[in-house]
Amino acid sequence: MVDRAHGYWVVIASLFVAAVLALVPLPAWLVWGRPEWVALVLVYWCIALPHRVGVMVALMSGLAMDLLEGAVLGQNTFALAVLALLSVSLYQRLRVFSLWQQAGIVFLLIGIHQLICQWVQNLEGVGARSLLFLLPALSSALMWPLILYLLRGLRRHYQVV
């Protein structure tokens, strides 16, 4: 019998690193295209460990992201919860997809995430004035192979199941 808490620190550590990457200052021409690191890492864990990582983890990391970004409490929390819910319900199909099919689904998922964030920001009155806010969906989809190989390697190495 495998201990349920075994290797859970890998999930937490990867989310922490993603949060740091989401905060690192970027040059001005790159700020709109920053991949949604936390969302990407969360999608990976939802597909790999759907019985352990899901909406609860999404709520926690979303709250942390709201605080870190100085956003309205609930913006990332809501968006990431929806993202986790979708990924957990899609995991059986996603696992058999080819790499670039997966990237396509990730593009859609992150797009939905961005739309929700945008919706909350518009409630606050600070939303983007162009469609540039969808750019992270594209950059995140391009980053998906990297995330997949990296986190899969980590998961196998530390035998997180």
Partner: protein
């Protein structure tokens, strides 16, 4: 979830919770700040002796000039207080400042906010003005135990009451969401504002102290078809470059806290 969003948007009840939770996520800022810390360290520790000597020489010269300029300060200040007493207006008091360091910039391109390494434990309070060496930068909007979050004057939700330094015309400078520009709204087409005018904080509204440089007017468009002139200004403060900034403790507000 909708309840949480509404509660944070419309009411202030979550402020306390927020500042507590903010204290918990501080480590992420510290880690994200490591690269710029390293480059800072490298800049200060790995320089040649010649460069250091040159810099010391330059700073000594600069110090001499600044000291020369402040010689008359004491007598001018006394004169100012006497004249103000004659006019029966309250004396202008000098503000105290505390040096703070930037440890984070809002990653969200629609938000112009920065995070400082001074918080409630250093006496920082909500609404406190922030300046750098060249001008007004913004005001504190969130305080946690060890950090605080500052809304820059260029954020779309921010406005500063200003006056033209040359003739005292009052106006309001609003952020445009881009770091390089402020827009002065609702100034009639006949008002005397020219390109190159310095806008300083007017102190109206009681949030910002009087007389700090805010921006320099870069463009004035007077379209006869429009009721108001369209005026753009460039912030005086180096909003995207300053790492060391000053938190201003204005006398009345510091007493209130």
């Amino acid at each position: 979830m909708g309840g949480l969003i509404t509660a944070d948007l419309r009411f202030n009840g979550l402020d306390r919770t927020r500042s507590l939770l903010d204290t918990l996520v501080v480590p992420v800022y510290w880690v994200a700040d490591i690269p710029s810390r390293l480059s800072d360290w490298q800049e200060t520790h790995l320089v040649s002796r010649g460069t250091l000597q040159e810099e010391g020489e330059r700073l000594r010269r600069e110090n001499l000039i600044l000291e020369g300029r402040t010689q008359q300060m004491a007598s001018l200040q006394a004169e100012n207080i006497r004249l103000r007493a004659l006019l029966n207006s309250t004396a202008l008091l000098r503000d105290d400042v505390v040096v703070a360091e930037l440890i984070g910039v809002s990653p969200d391109p629609v938000r112009q906010q920065v995070v400082l390494n001074k918080g409630a434990s250093d006496g920082v309070y909500i609404g406190q003005p922030l300046i750098d060496a060249n001008g007004l930068m913004g005001q504190v909007v969130d305080v946690s135990e060890f950090t605080s979050r500052v809304l820059l004057i260029t954020d779309v939700t921010h406005s500063v009451p200003v006056q033209v330094n040359r003739n005292g015309v009052r106006a309001i400078a609003e952020g445009t969401g881009s770091l390089g520009a402020l827009e002065v709204h609702h100034v009639s087409a006949t008002t005397d504002i020219r390109t190159g005018d310095l806008l300083v904080s007017s102190g109206l509204g009681g949030r910002f102290p009087v007389g700090y440089p805010v921006a320099e007017v870069t463009a004035v468009e007077r379209d006869p078809g429009q009721a108001f002139a369209r005026i753009l200004a460039r912030p005086s403060a180096a909003l995207d470059r300053s790492r060391h900034v000053l938190l201003v403790f204005t006398v009345e507000q510091a007493e209130a806290h």
